[in-house]
Structure formats: C-alpha cells, structure tokens
C-alpha cells in the first residue's frame, strides 16, 4: 500500500492506492508536491477514489449531487469512456464528502469577464483560479459547472486506471503494455484471452500509474450519445433512496418549527399539550426553534404544531411593500458594481428616441418536491448524517462545529435529492438534524419539515427591481443603461460561509452586463439592498431576474424602433458572438418565425447567455375563449459540447418549465414578517395540462463548454412576457403574470 509520504511526493493528480482485495484510483488532496500553499493535515492526504476495483466488481464515484440533472450518469460516462467499461456493469456511487472532490470550474466563474468573449488565455486563467476551489475545499454542485469541471479530470481518472490495469496484465504475461487492449471491463491479450479488471486489481494496486494521453473524441463510444441514466430504474420502481427514505435501524422521526419571522428569536415556548400527544417521545429546544421526536413523522408534525411559541420580530421590514421600498431606495445609494460601461451613456444620441421602463420581480421559493429533511446519529464522538445536499464539505464543517467535533469525525452521506435548484446549497436542515440527534445520543433521528415549514423557511430568490433606459434611432439600438437593485445572494452566502463579503457582486448583474449585444453605449450598474431576508441561489441565480429585465427591455426597444424583435436582437448579436446568433437563427427557423401572428396567437422571443451557454427561446400563446394557454415553445442552445444530448434536452425543457412556473404563478410575499405562502395551492407551478409542446435543438459551435442545468431558465420568463405583449399589446413589467393576464391554470 502506498504510504502517505509516497502519496504526497507523487506528481500525478490521479494516483492509485491498494485497498483490501483491489485498487482505488483517484485524486489526492493537493497532490502536487510544490509549490504547495497548504500543509495537509493528518487524514487529508487520503486518496478519494473515482474508480474502485475489488473482487466484488467495479465502482465509479460521481461526487456531484444527483438532483435530477443526470450528473451521476454523465460523470460516470466520462470515466467509463476511457476505462472501457459499460455503465450497466458498474456501480455508481456519490461517495463521501472530501476535499479531493473540489469543483475546479466553479471559481473560474468568478472572473470579471463576460464569459462569451473569453480568450484562451482567460480560459486557462479561469482553470488556474479553479485551483482555489481545491484550497477552499469547495465540493459543490452548482453554477452548471459539473461537466466543465469533470470533463478532463474524469477522463484522466478512467485512462489512468485503464493503463495501470494493462500494466498489471503486461507484468503477468511478460509482454509489453502496448500489445494489450481493453474492452468491456477486461484486458485482452494478443491471443484473445480476457483478464477481467477484478482479477488484476490487487496487482494494479502495487503499480505507480503511468502517464496517459486522452482519446480523441472521434473514438468515443459513450460521450456525445444519449445514455440510459443509471438512476432511472430505481426512480421508476420507487427503490431509489432519497434523503427522506433513509431508515437506519431503530430510527425515530421528528419534525421542526423555527421562527416564521425569519431570523427572529424564539422568546419562549410551551409544549405541555404536545408532550402528551400520541407517539411523542421528546421535545427538543433548538434555541431558535423547537422539534418533536416521535414514533412517526406525521405524529411529530401534529405535536410540533401544538406547541405554543412566542416568536420575536423579523429583522427586516415586515411587509412586502416595505421590502421593495428598501430595494428601490438602494438606487439612490452608490453603485456596488459597474461591470459594463461601453461608450458614453450620459449623452442622448441626437435624434434618438428614448425608451425607459421600470421592472419589479418578486421573491421566489425553490419548492423542491422533497421537503427539507436530514437524518443524523450522534454518538458523542462521531456524527453520521444522511441528507441530500449540494455542498457536502460545507455541511461537514458546519455540523462539526455544532456538534463540537473534529470534521474528520463527521460522515456525510449524499442520497438522491428530490430537487435541488440551489436550495440544497444551504446547510440549515443539516444543522437542525444535528441538534435533534445530539438530544438523543445513539439514536438515528430523521427530521422532516412540513411543506409549510419548507415553503416559509427558504433562502429565497431575492425580489429585484430594474430601471432601464435606452435609445433607438433608424431601427438600431444606440444606448442601453440599466440599473439593478436586489439583495446580494453572494454577500449572504459568503457571510454564512464565514468569509468576508465585499467588492463588486458579479452575480447581482449576471444576465445583464454580459449579454452579447453590440450596443455602442452600454452600461450596467448593480445596487445592493441591505436587507436580512434570507436569500440564496435559485436556479440560474442573478440571471433569473436579469434575464427578464434585460431581454424584456430589448423587446421594448425593438418595438420602439419599429423592428421585428428577433431580427433586432440578431443584428446586434452577429458581430458580437456567433454561437449566440446561431441560437436565435435556429429558433427562427424551428418556429417558422415571420414576425407576424394571426389573431388570437402571440409569439415572443427571449434570449439569455448564462453559465457559458447561450439559449434562445420562442414561446407561443393562444387565446382560447378569453383564457390564455402557452401552446408551444422552441429552444436552441449551444454549450459547445453536449456530452449527453438526451440529458441536455431534458435540462433545457425542465429549466424552461421551471422559469415559466415562476413567471406565471411564483410569488413570495410577506406580512407581519412572515411569508404568506404555505403550500402548493399558494405557490403553484406549470402542470401537464398547461405545459407547452416543446422542441429543442442543441448546437455545438461554442469554443468553450457551457452548462446545461440552469441556462434554460432565464430566457423563458421574458419570452413569455414578450409573447403576451404580442397577443394583447399589454407589456408585462412585473411577475407573476397571473396577476395581469387570464392564464390557464
């Protein structure tokens, strides 16, 4: 077995280690020997595997959280492509929380460029900055980064394992490695003899991995094709295990209430009624809330509702109007960022028509199908936690602190998630489960939130406002000057991570400052409203509001200029970013766009460049006896390389529907400091009867790989608003649309 010292001296990113009966291939924590900015602590030098082969078979690790986006399958396919195994023959596991599973692509997103204009140098710089992901231990699933992050590294992991296994076979047969080939989980000798990887695993554990070259994409068997997802049979048979399904032996069931005036204190509580209710075993004072442990989740929910609690006030204006007053007032302060300032927006071009508009978008909940929950067992010395999450290393450090344990004594399991959408980047549910488990040492406790608790204790998409000013002349855009105000998701997230928050917040203006339009006078400024409403990443984050602001305003400018809105955008885009223009041209062709629609039919186009992927959408609405139905949608995207087109198509359609749900119905409002929405009847979404018939085209001309999970969401909202304008002549400047249009519900 490789010693720790030997591991640290290695220069390979991908190393090997002997394990009982086999071998593991994977990444070492900060594996390069010099310059090494960190002193690895004890235990952190361990290898975290991507491939593990023993007598039982082959296991691939996909340490990115499966919340529906198909990451587990595509991540495993990256390894399997080079390893020469079939996905049906291997196990795919998420694996533990570990520093070596850091996300190198995510922090590359922090660079102050627009993304679409990125040069190869900047691209490499982004990759280099990505190393900070390793230093900060960020094992995160988010930012639509998984494929960009895993694309090189996972193919290297597979190739390294393959060549090491071949070397083991070469040693056994006393022939050169290059005389061997691999296929279907076995090394094939020149005479056709098959030696299964499992038979070579022990010997491979003693071999230093050779340096390997990656295969040419023209030789790929799996990548670039739509593969059956490894989680599909489990999800069709009810056997896939989500966090809420974890049942360690002897489990108890709990439910929780914390202050609905979010962030307010708990002054006192009286649980005397709850104590005597059926099945109740323990009342737990969480300090900022209360939990009931019972023999059954439903009994726990009934009892926790029966507790009388005196809650303190919310640390923010208690009514929705007050919150938006503060968001509006932030425009009067200093801009937090001016991330685009081209030309001179201070001078109105002579003879130009000025266009102005104000927009306002609501706070939104994530409303994952699986309500928040976590299961924990605390022994006094160790803590074991099972919970769907997008950031296991963050969870581990946070719960370790709560339990007063060394992080090494905490095990985080990441089962399937019933939706994430950014909600599972937080760790509140894990902290609550830890506190409850600490009150019942040695007993596994599952803490499940009611839907109402989940809906009313989210980290919301912030409410946001925009003031837009533009100028058009002779059918062209000459000036666009946008101001955006909202709470800072980034600042709050940094603060929760214990990092100092400050500086320009790129996320606040993403989807506005970085759009590929050649407008000569072009400025985007962001303003931070300092409010304490909990806010977080909601599928596409800043793009979720800026996509609407920016693209709706372009539509208004096109109409003011007397131009077809699609052609108006296309003309501004062609010289700026060809892949983006390609997406617009694709939806023009797919939808048979003519710029004209018959009576009773409206069409709108929407476009947002986000997470490295341009997405254009055309949405069609029809008036059916006074009720408006979203009838059709066409989507074109270009993420450069679509590793699994079936999954990309699903993400594009799903991302659009998530956005349309918000655009039509989504709204979180506040009264007396409390969220007024409790459950799906107050916070509905698109369902099967009002979903549009949708066609997707995936283009692959972009030079850099973009994301898939989020970019489908931002353009859906303006596309629908623009279609409603085409149908009714009424411009949607706020959402949800159900307030101002008679939509099919």
């Amino acid at each position: 077995m490789a010693s720790v010292g030997k591991i640290l001296r290695r220069t390979f990113l991908i190393g090997s280690a002997a394990v009982v009966g086999g071998v593991a291939f994977g990444a070492y924590y900060v594996s390069r020997p010099a310059p090494n900015p960190l002193q690895p602590q004890e235990g952190e030098a361990a290898l975290n595997p991507f491939v593990l082969i023993d007598q039982q078979g082959i296991t691939l690790f996909a340490p990115r959280a499966e919340m529906g986006q198909g990451v587990m399958t595509t991540w495993a396919a990256l390894i399997a492509e080079e390893l020469d195994v079939e996905l049906e023959q291997v196990r795919v596991l998420h694996g533990p929380a570990a520093a070596a599973y850091y996300n190198s692509a995510l922090l590359g997103e922090g660079l102050p460029n627009k993304g679409y204009d990125i040069s190869d140098f900047q691209h490499n710089l982004g990759e280099a900055l990505g190393v900070f992901g390793k230093v900060l231990n960020l094992q995160i699933t988010g930012g639509s980064t998984s494929m960009r992050d895993g694309f090189e590294r996972m193919r290297e992991a597979g190739a390294t394992a393959r060549e090491t296994l071949k070397q083991a076979a070469a040693n056994r047969l006393s022939i050169a490695r290059d005389q061997l080939r691999t296929e279907n989980g076995a090394v094939i000798a020149p005479d056709g003899t098959r030696i299964p990887y499992t038979d070579l695993a022990v010997a491979a554990g003693q071999i230093d991995p050779p340096e390997v070259a990656l295969r040419d994409p023209s030789d790929w068997r799996l990548l670039g094709k739509s593969l059956p997802r490894v989680d599909m049979v489990g999800k069709a048979t009810g056997t896939a295990e989500y966090g809420i399904d974890v049942r360690p032996e002897g489990s108890k069931f709990a439910s929780v209430r914390t202050n609905p005036k979010l962030g307010g204190e708990m002054k006192s509580f009286d649980a005397s009624d709850a104590e005597s209710m059926p099945g109740v075993e323990k009342i737990v004072d969480l300090g900022d809330g209360v939990a009931v442990v019972a023999s059954n989740t439903w009994l726990a929910m009934q009892a926790v509702e029966a507790i009388n609690v005196d809650w303190g006030d919310a640390p923010y204006p208690p009514e929705t109007d007050g919150l938006f007053d503060a968001i509006g007032a932030a425009f009067e302060g200093k801009a937090n960022s001016t991330m685009r300032d081209d030309g001179d927006v201070g001078t109105m071009p002579e003879g130009a028509t000025e266009v102005t508009a104000e927009y306002r978008l609501p706070y939104l909940a994530h409303a994952t199908m699986e309500p928040m929950n976590a299961t924990a067992i605390f022994t006094g010395k160790t803590l074991e936690l099972w919970t769907g999450n997008q950031a296991p290393t963050v969870i581990r450090s946070k719960v370790a602190k709560v339990a007063n344990l060394d992080p090494e004594m905490v095990t985080v399991h990441t089962p399937y998630m019933g939706g994430g959408f950014g909600r599972r980047l937080e760790y509140d549910y894990a902290v609550i489960a830890t506190k409850v488990a600490m009150a019942l040492p040695n007993v596994p406790v599952q803490v499940t939130w009611s839907r109402e608790e989940d809906m009313r204790h989210d980290f919301y998409r912030p409410g946001a406002m925009a003031r837009m000013r533009g100028a058009v002349k002779d059918g062209k855009a000459l000036l666009l000057d946008g101001q955006i105000s909202a709470q800072s998701v980034l600042y709050q997230a940094m603060t929760r991570m214990g990092a100092p928050a400050g500086g320009p917040d790129k996320i606040l203006v993403e989807g506005a400052f970085n759009q590929p339009y050649a407008i000569p006078n072009y400025r985007i400024r962001g303003y931070i409203a300092d409010l304490a409403v909990p806010v977080g990443s909601w599928r596409s984050v800043g793009n979720s509001f800026n996509g609407f602001f920016h693209d709706t305003f372009l539509d208004e400018m096109a109409h003011a200029a007397g131009r077809d809105p699609l052609e108006f955008r296309l003309e501004l885009m062609k010289s700026e970013h060809a892949p983006s223009a390609g997406c617009l041209e694709a939806v023009r062709e797919m939808s048979g766009w003519t710029g004209k629609t018959p009576d009773g039919v409206g069409r709108g186009v929407g476009f947002t460049y986000s997470f490295g992927t341009p997405v254009a959408q055309v949405i069609e609405v029809v008036d059916e006896d006074g009720t408006i139905r979203i009838s059709k949608a066409w989507i074109a995207c270009d993420m450069g390389l679509a590793l699994d087109p079936g999954t990309v198509e699903a993400q594009m359609v799903g991302g659009m529907i998530y956005g349309l749900s918000a655009a039509c119905f989504g709204e979180v409002t506040f009264a007396d400091g409390e969220v007024e929405q409790y459950n799906f009847p107050d916070y509905d979404a698109i369902r099967i009867h009002n979903v549009p018939e949708t066609e997707v085209r995936i283009l692959e001309t972009n030079r850099h790989m973009g994301g898939a999970g989020e970019p489908g969401t931002p353009p859906s909202m303006p596309a629908l608003g623009n279609a409603l304008f085409d149908l009714t002549g009424q411009r949607a400047r706020s959402l949800p649309l159900s307030h101002s249009f008679d939509l099919l519900v």
Binding site: G234, G238, T239, G279, W298, T368, M369, I657, F680, I686
Partner: protein, 154 residues
Amino acid sequence: MPTSLTINGTAHNIDLPDEVPLLWVLRDEVGLTGTKFGCGVAACGACTVQIDGEAVRSCQVALSDVWGEVTTIEGLGAPEAMAKIQQAWVDHQVAQCGYCQSGQIMQAAALLAENPSPSDAEIDEAMQGNLCRCGTYPRIRAAIHSAAGKLKEA
C-alpha cells in the same frame, strides 16, 4: 386495537392511531418508502397509491378509512420485473429528480386500467393533480402513450 391492512398482497397489522394518514403508515411503519411525501394537502400527487385499483392521495386517507387493498409503487413492479408502465418510464428516460414519479406512475397506471388508449386531453385531465417541479411532463405524456400501446399488444 391494531388495524389490519393488505398492502401489495401482504397482510399487515398496524398499531397506530386511527387518524394517521396511510402515507405515513406506509413510509414510517411498513417501511415502503417508494410512496413520497410532498405537500400533505393533496395538492401535488407525490403520495399517490391505489386502493382497490383507484388512484388516491395517501396523505388524505386515514388509517381507519382504508377501504380496500393497497397497491404502492413497490407492488406495481420491482427493478428486475417492472410493470409495462414502469418500463415505458425507463424507455422514455422520464425521471429527472424522480421524486414525484412514483405518484405519477401510480396515477398513470390507474388511468390506463380504466382507459386503455387515452387522448392527450384525457391524460391532462387524469394527470394534472400530479406536480413535477423538474418539468418532465412531455416525457410523461410520451411514456403513457407508449405504455398504452404495449398494454394493447399484450
């Protein structure tokens, strides 16, 4: 006094208060976790099971009110022996997060038992109580049509 229930063909004696919803009997007492908790107010359909073949929201049926044999997703078919409708879900790669799909499949199975070739409008009518936040509806519709075809061949 324990309540006796037949679930997926097996008799169970359940020692829980009468008002506990069937959902929580299945999940926390019997250990059949394929049936999911989504909202608790019959607004999402994640908890859909069948009682005597009828699709019901198990979060709204009290233990003492269960009037017949209960079938859950686990009783419809197992990974190695899937029902045709489950196979159609796999063929069309329907699930994303998958959390709502047990309920979607139980609802769709009840629809097909009653109506072997549903139109799009009939699918809309039967399935609109089943929420999917991932937006898998187009593939759900395709899988139902395809399962209808396969069931007719059989």
